[in-house]
């Protein structure tokens, strides 16, 4: 029997961890994006340039390398503000995704701020589906945790496949794994595309009515 009875339950529980790590990376990224966004939209040139340099370096740092860097160099236990934390591999994967999530949200946040300042609240609200899209990208990226021993979905699939002797059996396990990941991810992407389209349509139709062009200052 290629797929053991507990395979689906194990992969699904592993996938939950993928979603959990992505949520941690998303929340931490949103928090870190606040100073980056403010630094991007500020009128002070020096701060703006400094923020741009930080964002450029963060964007250039490959997630996989950042993960290994943190995994090998962070102490097992750290204390932040008097709170002791254990640096589990799960937390390290979430932290390694921070450069991506924080720069993504800072860029989208800056754009949303510009739109909101220009009076287009609906255009600014596109930040919501963009956040959802980033979340799904983060879920896909959490699979890198398999390289440092996080027991997430990909790791369970690989572990199961490695125990099988033939190529066809392994490919069958991989195909099942792809399907299990594809269903929630593609559903999410489709829903987000629809939400984005809906918001764009509302924004466009609102742009044709006299009230919508008024910014809060004109009201």
């Amino acid at each position: 029997m290629i797929l053991q009875p507990d395979f689906f339950a194990a992969v699904l529980s592993g996938m939950l961890l993928n979603f959990e790590i992505a949520a941690e990376a998303l929340l931490a990224g949103l928090v870190l994006a606040i100073p980056l966004t403010l630094g991007t939209v500020t009128k002070r040139t020096a701060i703006r340039r400094l923020t741009a340099s930080v964002v450029l370096i963060l964007r250039a740092a490959p997630t996989f390398v950042v993960m290994f860097f943190l995994f090998n160099l962070l102490p097992h236990r750290v204390s932040i503000g008097g709170i002791a934390m254990t640096m589990s591999p799960q937390i390290i994967v979430a932290l390694s995704l921070l450069p991506y999530s924080s720069t993504y949200f800072s860029e989208n946040g800056a754009e949303a701020l510009r739109q909101w300042r220009a009076g287009s609240v609906l255009a600014a609200s596109l930040f919501v589906p963009n956040t959802g899209r980033a979340y799904l990208v983060l879920v896909m990226s959490t699979g890198s945790g398999a390289a440092i021993g996080v027991t997430e979905g990909i790791s369970i699939i690989l572990h199961h496949a490695e125990s099988l002797p033939t190529l066809s059996e392994r490919l069958a396990v991989f195909a099942t794994g792809i399907l299990l990941f594809a269903i929630p991810l593609q559903t999410g992407f489709i829903l987000l595309t629809k939400l984005r389209g809906m918001l764009t349509r509302i924004a466009l139709s609102a742009a044709h009515t006299p009230q919508s062009v008024q910014s809060p200052d004109h009201a």
Binding site: L56, I57, A60, A61, P62, T63, F64, V65, V66, F68, F69, N72, L73, M140, S141, T142, G143, S144, A146, A147, I148, G149, T151, I154, S155, I156, I157, L158, H159, A161, E162, S163, P165, L167, R170, L171, F174, G177, I178, F181, A182, L185, Q186
Partner: protein
């Protein structure tokens, strides 16, 4: 009266010193040891001595560095110590007539503590290699020998090193056999201590784990462990040595060698190993060796026919090793930074890094080319009016875009390793194709969307254009997205290490066989890849601006 006592004592001291006969190579080891100890006891002033043996005899304490987490060999539970090495340390202290003080050491600090004079002797599951010979004085004969053992679930097949290509093997950082595993295409998952390997095997994180057979010996005494796992194969035999500091350690080393000779000859090592349920095969062989008349003499420990050679790690220095050392020293004194640049000082480590850098650059270039190629293929497929081709392209795109990149890489490697046998080239090619396929699918999607808008533009303007011209225009329109996915592909290249591609991340992981330092190693890795991505960003930006200027000039092709 006091003056007389002092004078008599001094005369007795001189007499004792003079009475000690010179070291006779043909003497029995116990006679030579007695002579050596007598000479040391009678030599210079205790406070001024730089000789380690004299210092131990003066202080009456022997400080030995042992492991606290290595079952059967050195375990610490509170103040209680146990293990084969602990028992040997007790025997040695007794022979020297001093008190034993045990200090817990780890593979990362055991030689450093010796150099810092915080311990007199280290006996901590340490393999004797030619590299370590430069940092400490190893005692021969060796008190044990191990080999690296590969352990995994009984259902998993792995007959030899060639079976490890593309498979994950959990190892400890600093293990001398890591490079050997990596050379055969194994994905190494590094852990700090061997206990974690057992935990990760049981948790299902590690399918295979490699460690000294001495470490797994304890686990295999557990029936539950034996029922689940078995030994796949052994490789890289390695003699274990106790070691003392290079400076001032000559007499201490001689004394310990003589004691070790006698412990082998008299079967003490064999008995102690049996007491701790350790495989005594090597020790039985050694017992026979040290009972030979040619070996059982004072100079036996220096006779090449009696002792084992250290594990050769082929550690010729690089041509610029001294300049690297100078640089380390300069950084330390000028900036207070103390990087460990061993990888630049040892020729084999430097070779690994050079090849890692070269392969990384090749991988990045191949991935960029492959991304562009797949972008064109997907762009054409997704914009074709021929429905079967269109739907096939869409299906592949959805499949590729729904698969996490790590899984895609493993699938590609599994297929490639089945069709071809594992090699660096196969792993690099599989990684470049997979990364190109994934990122090219996104870029191709952008091109196809640009084609749709272009068609509508041309229809609106009642203009006609040839298909190749429209495709080129679509490529120009989607340049921003193409560039962003080229950058993304570059950022993905380190993930190729997961399938055994010998790029820089894997090369630097291999260098942990030569040095247990990881700080400098992973800083170098982060800096290299960040700079590589920044360079690709810069090149893509220049390319994009050039093409945009081309379009903007009078007579441009845009509708």
């Amino acid at each position: 009266m006091t003056v007389w006592v002092v004078l008599v004592s001094m005369m007795l001291g001189v007499a004792t010193s003079m009475a000690a006969p010179p070291f006779d190579p043909a003497a029995r080891p116990e006679v030579a040891l007695e002579t050596l100890l007598a000479r040391s006891r009678g030599s210079e002033d205790c406070a001024a001595t730089t000789d380690r043996l004299r210092h131990i005899l003066c202080s009456g304490v022997l400080k030995v560095g042992v492991r606290g987490d290595y079952p059967l060999f050195g375990m610490a539970a509170g103040t209680i110590r146990s293990g084969y090495e602990v028992d040997i340390a007790e025997r040695i202290a007794r022979q020297l007539g001093v008190t034993l003080s045990l200090v817990t050491v780890s593979p990362a600090n055991r030689i450093a503590l010796l150099a810092e004079d915080r311990i007199d002797l280290v006996m901590a599951t340490m393999g004797h290699t030619t590299l370590r010979d430069a940092h400490a004085r190893f005692i021969r004969p060796h008190y044990y020998a191990s080999s690296t053992e590969l352990v995994g679930p009984r259902a998993v097949q792995a007959a030899d090193l060639s079976a490890l290509a593309g498979r994950t093997v959990c190892v400890t950082v600093g293990n001398a056999s890591n490079a050997e595993l990596s050379r055969h295409g194994a994905r190494l998952l590094l852990f700090d201590n061997p206990e974690q390997l057992i935990d990760r095997l049981n948790a299902g994180v590690c399918m295979l784990a490699a460690q000294d057979d001495s470490f797994f010996a304890k686990s295999f005494t557990d029936p539950r462990f034996s029922a689940l796992y078995d030994r796949k194969f052994h490789f890289a035999p390695l003699p274990w040595g106790m070691a003392v500091a290079n400076q001032g350690g000559e007499d201490l080393a001689t004394a310990l060698s003589l004691i070790s000779q006698m412990m082998h000859r008299d079967g003490v090592f064999v008995d102690l190993a049996r007491d701790h349920h350790i495989d005594a095969g090597f020790l039985m062989e050694q017992r026979a060796v040290w009972n030979r008349p040619t070996c059982d003499r004072a100079d036996g420990f220096s006779n090449p026919d009696c002792v084992l050679r250290p594990h050769a790690t082929d550690l010729a220095p690089t041509l610029f090793a001294s300049r690297v050392s100078d640089f380390e020293h300069w950084l330390g004194t000028q900036a207070g930074i103390h990087p460990v640049l061993t990888m630049f000082k040892i020729a084999p480590a430097w070779d690994l890094i050079r090849w890692g850098l070269f392969n990384s650059i090749i991988l990045i270039a191949a991935t960029l080319a492959s991304t562009l190629l797949f972008a064109v293929v997907f762009g054409l497929g997704l914009s074709t009016p021929f429905k079967p081709l269109l739907w096939s392209a869409r299906a592949i795109m959805v499949l590729v875009q729904s698969t996490p990149i790590v899984l895609s890489l493993v699938i590609a490697a599994t297929i490639a390793n089945t069709v071809f046998s594992f090699s660096s080239t196969v792993a690099l090619a599989a990684a470049a194709i997979t990364l190109g396929l994934t990122n090219g699918s996104y870029a191709g999607q952008a091109i196809s969307e640009a084609i749709v808008t272009l068609r509508s533009d041309y229809e609106r303007l009642h203009s006609t254009v040839t298909a190749p011209k429209m495709f080129m225009e679509a490529m120009r329109r989607s340049l921003v997205q193409i560039v962003s996915f080229l950058i993304n592909a570059t950022k993905g290249t380190p993930a190729a290490s997961f399938i055994g591609a010998p790029e820089l991340l894997n090369a630097l992981t291999d260098t942990t066989s030569f040095s247990s330092d990881r700080t400098t190693t992973y800083w170098l890795l982060l800096i290299f890849y960040t700079l590589a991505v920044l360079l690709v960003i810069q090149l893509c930006t220049i390319l994009r601006r050039t093409l945009e200027r081309e379009i903007a000039r009078p007579g441009g092709d845009s509708p």
